[in-house]
């Protein structure tokens, strides 16, 4: 059995993060690993436009941490995941990406992985066996 590893870090706000390469964008974008988010990936509309993701009339209602509900546009894209292309479910936050805005990686994207967060060492490791 082969073990694969992706690495991230603890950012300046104390959040576990990991770079994600969305196919269609030049550079990876840093994403927050959010175990309170139960789909795959959230990106900003600005990036979805740059990556030329296909936008159809698809909606998902999302419960936010403050108890409010918001509707997100839903689409799909391809990311590089453990060195291979992987088609993923994407929710799109309308508007331009804030300067310090993070994408969010959710638990459905992590479902076949082991996640290790070491806050003391400020390290994040995501591994899977194939």
């Amino acid at each position: 059995m082969l073990s694969q590893l992706m690495e991230g870090w603890i950012d300046e706000h104390g959040h576990p993060v990991m770079p994600v390469q969305l196919i269609g964008l030049e550079d990876p974008i840093v994403a927050l690993i959010d175990t309170g988010f139960n789909r795959e990936l959230i990106v900003y509309e600005e990036h979805s436009q740059q990556a030329q993701l296909v936008i159809e009339s698809e909606s998902v209602s999302v419960l936010l941490a403050d108890g409010s509900q918001e509707e997100f546009l839903r689409t799909e894209g391809v990311i590089e995941w453990f060195g291979e292309p992987r088609r993923v479910d994407i929710l799109v936050i309308p508007g331009q990406a804030p300067r310090k805005g993070r994408w969010q990686i959710g638990t459905q994207l992590l479902r076949d992985c082991r996640l290790e967060i070491d806050f003391r060492e400020r390290s994040v490791k995501l591994s899977r066996h194939v």
Partner: protein, 84 residues
């Protein structure tokens, strides 16, 4: 740098979600959706009420695109709210 212009119609998204949620609630009440299919992913065509179920998000999405392409679609997981 070109000025960013949003192409997302939030009002349209809300309308799809409202219609989709109403159909979902009816399926729960009339067809026992959550008892039978808890945890599966559902995609609803909000204009016809047709729906598909899949074990994964992408499986449900593929089935929906096949069964009702070019439609307005509402996505959810049966019995599980989407949290962010």
């Amino acid at each position: 740098m070109a000025e960013f212009k949003s192409k997302i119609d939030r009002q349209a998204l809300r309308e799809i979600a409202d219609k989709g949620q109403a159909i979902y609630d009816r399926l729960v009440k009339e067809k026992g959706l959550e008892e039978k299919y808890f945890g599966l992913y559902i995609v609803i065509n909000v204009d016809t009420g047709e729906y598909v179920l899949g074990k994964t998000i992408l499986e449900a999405s593929d089935l929906a695109k096949e069964k009702f392409p070019q439609s307005r679609r509402f996505h959810a997981q049966v019995g599980v709210p989407t949290y962010a």
